[in-house]
Symmetry: C2
Subunit: 360 residues, 2 copies
């Protein structure tokens, strides 16, 4: 019971630090915006082309602020670390891979790497996690399949590690390619990370296994500061965006959530939270694989007269959504897509509720 | 004896990986140079102003190549890791702090942060190391002082950690401010890291204490790839420089050596290797502290007619050296300063030889 109290306290300390992180992010973004503009890191809002807003130089790559504040908080938090010292290894590995991803994302924003190189950047950062991973490599066989397989727990060894690696690469890229609308990159991260925190808290409450609790506490330590600092960024990135987030942010956020899911051992749940990203990835596959030519941007078409976006033939969820539900304004589109994301998260909670007991 | 053999093997594997890293660095720098130029990351060589060479756009911040190759190698090497698993914590903490420093260095190069902010950047990265540090916090009292203090070993606790922190901040900044001459930043790193590797090998050979050996092996794991990748960079950065290294490189290299010295427990030795940097720091102090106005660059004066550099009144070792030994060409100056660095390293080895047995 004393340990329980300690876990609770450290979650609260983490929450307090995250709150501080939110305010620092909000304070720093305007300052950093001046610096990135001076360094010629800006973009023009393509979805406003033809209006005066489309001519403004919007500061780019403000993900560097979120990433830096996140890392400083995550490091400072180690001072209050009360979980088992075994977790320190994983915590440092997590920070190393998140930091490497942040660096590579910023490198990509500054140097504008060719997109086939972009796709492999997350594998370098995922490698950090893979190499340091010392946790179990077993999966619990779902109950209905136990009679057929004859095992309750299956040791996967390197196959599990490969799965981990691919998951991290997938999450990171999938956040990065579900983008292009004001507020969407940060919005989806906020929705998913809120879902992760809720899931973690529910699991901690429901479980009696200390190791299992610790894994979810660990995830909270990473995702809570991500949520808070992302909210700070969203205040500026929401429609009409006064800053852009850059690959710096999408890579950083994707990797942080992937690391939390892997080290917190809830990767199947994470994948269901990522349903819209999975669909977007599947829709993108023909263009990414090169079967269909892939333009530089795969954005909807903007009409400056009606101020609405119309879906194009490019294979993205954004375009698909517009083709199905008709043209709409950028702001509405972003809200609908975020509602869709929230629905995927609710679906996941519902699925876990239905399958609980029967499945695992 | 079997363990000895394993340590030896893993040092050789590390050496092989480092060699590969050298070739990758040499291959990648010309490619990366095109990208950084396109991203408007370039500098003009101030020490060649007034000649045609002074008009060339020299690609800047090529430290990103060295840093990225270093990190990928360091991570891949974990696959062959044979030292005690306790070291994995420190290894990951080392990678996290080096990576954070690399990111902040590149951020500084791109955004051109004010120099007072520059000076505090390394403290963020040093914090990573400080927080994860779980090793001992004791010092061995030098033999002549034992009767006065009455202790053979002194527990310092947080004072030791503060010392660690300040050392990391000092090393990183001191490499960064002993600069401004073609080849000097990389050259000093090559000389110091070669000295560190020699010191580590000598200590491994001379000791019978396994923990002590492991600490030095650990340092080799970090410094050997640094040495190899830096040599790759030096091929391009040597006079006349076809690339500049940026704060990205100086911060990264300084932090890597500091981390090796701290986690390898030879920080006093490291400080003597850093003697020229210490002198440069002391000479710079009046300007850094603001007693004397500090210009943007504190370089010597170049005369395009004689092709020689003359020392100015700015407080740097470069200027002091020129004032004492007279004007000379940039290339000679760099060679002399590197010889001075090598002499400091030899002095350190000599000092250790003299004091061995008597002092500790
Ligand atoms: Mg992107
Ligand atoms: Mg510099």
């Amino acid at each position: 019971y004393k340990i329980e109290q300690e876990l609770k306290n450290s979650i609260l300390i983490n929450a307090a630090l995250s709150l501080i992180g939110y305010f620092i992010t909000v304070k720093l973004i305007p300052v950093a915006s001046r610096y990135v503009l001076r360094a010629n890191l800006f973009g023009r809002d393509i979805n406003k082309r033809g209006t005066p807003q489309g001519e403004v130089k919007v500061p780019e790559s403000l993900g560097v602020v979120v990433g830096t504040v996140f890392l400083v908080l995550a490091v400072a938090f180690q001072y209050f670390f009360t979980v088992d010292s075994n977790w320190v290894v994983e915590y440092n590995a997590a920070l190393a891979s998140i930091c490497f991803m942040l660096f590579l994302g910023f490198l990509d924003d500054v140097l504008d790497l060719p997109w086939r190189v972009k796709l492999i950047l997350p594998s370098f950062a995922a490698l950090v996690l893979l190499m340091a991973y010392a946790g179990h490599t077993t999966i619990v066989i779902p109950k209905p399949f136990i009679p057929y397989i004859g095992l309750e727990v299956m040791h996967l060894g390197w196959i599990y590690k490969l799965y981990m690696f691919l998951l991290a690469v997938f999450c990171t890229n999938s956040i990065n390619i579900h983008a292009g609308i004001n507020g969407l990159e940060v919005g989806q991260t906020v929705v998913i990370s809120a879902a992760i925190v809720i899931h973690n808290i529910m699991q901690i409450g429901a479980s009696t296994d200390f190791d299992y609790k610790q894994a979810h506490v660990f995830s909270i330590y990473l995702v809570q500061p991500l949520l808070a600092t992302s909210l700070g960024l969203l205040a500026y990135n929401w429609y009409p965006s006064s800053v852009f987030v850059g690959d710096t942010y999408t890579y950083f956020a994707g990797m942080t959530m992937a690391v939390a899911g892997i080290l917190g051992h809830f990767s199947e749940t994470l994948l269901i939270f990522f349903l819209p990203q999975v669909v977007n990835f599947l829709l993108s596959l023909p263009q990414l694989a090169g079967y269909i030519p892939c333009p530089r941007h795969r954005l909807p078409r903007y009409d400056p007269v009606t101020d609405k976006l119309t879906g194009t033939k490019d294979g993205t969820l954004v375009n698909f959504f517009l083709r199905v539900f008709g043209s709409m304004s950028e702001k509405s589109l972003c809200i609908y897509l975020l509602v869709l994301q929230a629905l995927a998260c609710c679906f996941c909670f519902f699925l876990r509720y239905i399958l609980a007991g029967w499945y695992k």
